[in-house]
């Protein structure tokens, strides 16, 4: 037999919040804080046999020129307690939360994640992020202490220390034998020691070995250093590359790096974030997508998105007028705080956008639609299912992290209309195979 077996598409559901893509003005938009919203999305994703439900985190409200953002959704609950509550109203779906390795210590990270793993019967995962800005640090007793160059050292050591804590209780450390009177089979259960550049800790860990042994590790790494870190330690990678050819290149690169670290490449799942719009026809879906984009890119949203690139006040410019010819303030204090600028060097990026706008005669709003607007899949449910399946089978990714502009109901139609077609193709499970997130992702249990 020469034909490779069909890949099972990994699906994660992302409940979006504070970014400009969420249409909070929509008549069907629900609360961004009530538990019922989180329950709806997690249960919908579980109905669609998704692998996991995912929450992001940001530890300071975004600010523009010293004022809290008011044009996007603002505010969110604490990630891990919401996931613990969701464990009560779901039974199979994985629960992956973002926790910052800069403003949390390994002992508390390990405790929270291992506790979540117990409380969910083995469904916990950790999306590892670090930050180093003084702005976020101002909310913490330890301040913005991390040298940017130490980001990956901190992240690598935090993951290693957390894993050492998880490993500190053996599988058979608890006897609970009333006859002999021995509760602990191992008198040294929980003993740990970790010494590195960021952490020098030791003692005994409070949480016995959790169902997965080690909860699933998720990362997002794009730089060579980040890719190596992810390929060496992550079980899943949240990738920004959702289109050919970058997606295929990234996929090949991550799998090669994983193999280089002696890992089975299939044990590192590459999962780009994605969005979709369904319609009765391709044209209908595209028309809907245009309408959604128009609603997302309100004048204030357009202004603030570009203010982050220009690093200066652009309120004097009409969003339907030409793109400002001003250069960005490269050296100035950050005009937008609390949101990473991911497009690269400001001067180069702005120059590029200015020439693109000039070449195509784009207004600010049209430029925003070109560079920020992004709906990856538009079409009938069949077209979206075909395209997504081809993307995964063609090694663009192992699956996708599905978000929606509409909270909480946006995922419903994907689950109702696209999921059955993926299942028909044999690319998506119709029932969960395992009870833990590791089992459902096909990962080995450590």
């Amino acid at each position: 037999m020469t034909e490779r077996s069909r890949k099972q598409i990994v699906l994660a559901a992302y409940l979006g919040g504070v970014n400009e893509d969420i249409l909070w003005e929509h008549p069907e938009a629900g609360s961004q804080i009530d538990f019922s919203t989180f329950r709806h999305v997690a249960q919908t994703a579980e109905r669609g046999r998704f692998d996991y439900f995912f929450l992001a985190e940001g530890l300071a409200l975004r600010e523009r020129d010293g004022q809290v953002f008011d044009h996007d959704v603002v505010g969110r609950p604490d990630t891990i307690p919401v996931l613990a509550a969701l464990a009560a109203v779901t039974s199979h779906i994985g629960l992956v939360g973002t926790l910052n390795a800069t403003f949390n210590e390994p002992y508390e990270l390990a405790r929270q994640l291992a506790s979540l793993d117990h409380l969910s019967g083995g469904r916990a995962g950790w999306n590892v992020v670090t930050s180093f800005d003084a702005f976020t640090g101002a909310n913490f007793r330890r301040g913005g202490f991390l040298d940017p160059a130490d980001r990956y050292v901190r992240a690598e050591e935090a993951v290693a220390a957390v894993q050492a804590l998880w490993d500190s209780w053996g599988e058979h450390a608890i006897a609970a034998d009333p006859v002999s009177g021995r509760f602990l089979a191992d008198a040294r259960a929980g003993e740990f020691e970790f010494s590195g550049r960021q952490f020098d800790i030791g003692g005994r860990f409070t949480v016995p070995r959790s169902p997965q042994g080690r909860p699933v590790i998720v990362q997002a790494g794009v730089s060579p250093q980040g890719r190596d870190f992810a390929a060496a330690t992550a079980d899943a990678i949240f990738s920004p590359f959702h289109r050919a050819p970058e997606a295929h290149e990234f996929y090949r690169d991550i799998k090669a790096r994983a193999a280089g670290f002696g890992r089975d490449p299939s044990h590192v799942k590459v999962l780009p974030g994605t969005s979709f719009v369904l319609g009765d026809s391709k044209a209908d879906a595209e028309e809907k997508a245009r309408h959604i984009l128009q609603q997302q890119l309100t004048p204030r949203t357009v202004q603030v998105l570009f203010e982050q690139a220009w690093n200066r006040d652009l309120s004097a410019f009409d969003v339907d007028g030409p793109v400002p010819s001003l250069p960005p303030l490269v050296e100035g204090p950050p005009f937008i705080q609390g949101r990473a600028f991911v497009f690269g060097d400001r001067a180069t990026v702005v120059r590029g956008w200015q020439s693109l706008a000039e070449e195509k005669g784009l207004s600010l709003r049209q430029l925003a639609a070109t560079v920020f607007g992004r709906i990856d899949y538009t079409g009938t449910p069949q077209q979206v299912a075909d395209e997504l399946d081809a993307f995964v089978q063609g090694d663009g990714a192992d699956g996708v992290v599905v978000g929606s502009h509409l909270v909480p109901g946006g995922l419903d139609e994907f689950v109702d209309l696209v999921v059955p077609l993926l299942q028909e193709k044999g690319s998506l499970r119709t029932e969960y195979e395992g009870s833990t997130l590791r089992e459902n992702l096909g990962l080995p249990t450590p």
């Binding site: 909070w24 003005e25 804080i33 538990f35 530890l59 300071a60 409200l61 809290v68 953002f69 008011d70 044009h71 959704v73 603002v74 505010g75 609950p77 604490d78 891990i80 307690p81 919401v82 613990a84 509550a85 464990a87 009560a88 109203v89 403003f103 210590e105 002992y107 508390e108 291992a114 506790s115 117990h118 409380l119 019967g121 101002a138 909310n139 913490f140 007793r141 330890r142 209780w169 609970a176 009177g181 021995r182 509760f183 602990l184 089979a185 191992d186 008198a187 040294r188 259960a189 929980g190 800790i201 030791g202 003692g203 005994r204 860990f205 409070t206 949480v207 309100t298 204030r300 949203t301």
Partner: protein
């Protein structure tokens, strides 16, 4: 004239298999399930069946030990526990009325995280969240974080260095609570406006930096989590002496104290009242509710509480407790609670010796006895924990601008 509803409160303290070190060896103890969600859900649902005001869930940043001040290497007692705030969050969606008050340590943790965690517990429980503040003075727990040295308690509680450290830790805890409370207030109740006409999701004037600058840390704010349903979730603290009484008076809504006998109980009430007079100067502050902690062994059909305690003591380490240990029939224990109520205690927190046996005995024995005496409610009356405890349900936001009339 209609009778006013009873205001005496009952709380249950949950920990492992119960408060006796050999509780896990009892036949009904579910010792294999102490780290499973089903165990905790069943306990809290059982307490809710008894109309209990709230449960507390113990937690520490180190493994349990026979000596609360230094670690040990025993193998014959329960060791290991889950994060209490996450247990409470896990239980919230499958309970309806009971308050959920996990222990959260503030010594090595970030008040910003603690604040949003408790706020989120309050959101997922729709207004039933609280928090028992705890400090960590053990040197081995400090080593788990590796960020500061503590002298530890090895020298004994009377050692001047230890005493100084206790005062410092309590002052730091008071700052942590103050930061958490300010962060809860940093979002005014009507901050979210969703005004499409002006393209504003919030009214930015109603989301505030707290700009807290204290002796131990500074925190800028605002919180990332919008105002919790109760405004101010309930803050509780366990206290045994003047320094922690003063911490409770400064920071808490509920204090758990450990009287041994009625004379001691009177004395403690007076000491707490003095601490309140010294520390609670804000005229707008509500009363500090005082709960007496009692470790209980209730008579069951099979065995008296006293016999059960004696039998368990014989299995290994005898029970030692900061709280008074009381045994007897449900009726006689209810009589003791009635005496505490008549002294002026707002409630009791019962620590079941063996959860498997004493929790049902409380629910099916002590609760009906108290109800018969007209001392305890026959149904839940308020939707939130604050309301259940008789605390104001409309908490003013300290950052809200006074409205000119």
């Amino acid at each position: 004239m209609p009778m006013s509803s009873p205001t005496f409160h009952l709380a249950i303290a949950l920990d492992g298999a119960g408060w006796h070190p050999a509780a896990w060896r009892e036949p009904g103890s579910r010792r294999e399930e102490l780290f499973s969600p089903g165990y905790w859900v069943d306990l809290v649902q059982e307490a809710e069946r008894g109309l209990i005001d709230f449960v507390t869930i113990e937690d520490t940043l180190g493994l349990q030990s026979a000596d609360p001040f230094v670690p040990d290497t025993r193998t014959d007692e329960v060791r290991g526990r889950l994060d209490a705030l996450l247990i409470a969050s896990r239980v919230a969606p499958v309970t309806e009325r009971i308050g959920l008050v996990p222990t959260v340590t503030v010594t090595h943790t970030e008040p910003f995280h603690v604040s949003k965690a408790v706020a989120t517990l309050d959101h997922v429980s729709e207004g039933r969240g609280g928090w028992q503040v705890k400090v960590s003075g053990r040197s081995d727990e400090a080593q788990h974080f590796g960020r500061r040295e503590l002298v530890g308690f090895e020298a004994g509680l009377a050692d001047p260095a230890v005493q100084t450290q206790v005062v410092e830790l309590c002052d730091e805890a008071a700052e942590a609570v103050e930061v958490a409370r300010r962060l809860w207030d940093s979002w005014e109740p009507d901050a979210e406006i969703r005004d499409a006409a002006t393209d504003r999701f919030i009214d930015a004037e109603k989301v505030h930096r707290i700009e807290f600058e204290g002796r131990f840390f500074s925190v800028r704010g605002p919180a990332i989590t919008p105002r919790p349903p109760q405004g101010q979730p309930v803050v509780a603290a366990l206290a045994h002496a003047e320094v922690p009484y003063r911490l409770a008076a400064r920071s808490a809504d509920v204090v758990f104290v450990t009287p041994h006998g009625l004379d001691d109980a009177r004395g403690i009430l007076a000491q707490v009242a003095a601490a309140v007079d010294a520390e609670r100067r804000d005229p707008g502050r509500e009363r500090l509710l005082v709960f007496a902690d009692l470790l209980v062994f209730v008579d069951t059909a099979a065995e008296s509480g006293a016999a059960r305690l004696q039998r368990l003591d014989g299995l290994g380490r005898a029970l030692s407790s900061d709280a008074a240990v009381v045994t007897g029939s449900a009726a006689s224990l209810a009589e003791q609670l009635a005496e505490l109520a008549s002294l002026g205690f707002d409630g009791v927190r019962l620590r079941p010796g063996v959860l498997a046996d004493d929790l049902p005995a409380i629910v099916d024995g002590i609760v009906p006895e108290l109800q018969r005496r007209g001392l305890f409610r026959t149904r839940y009356e308020a939707a939130t924990l604050r309301g259940q405890l008789g605390l104001s349900e409309e908490v003013a936001d300290r950052y809200a601008k006074a409205v000119l009339r």
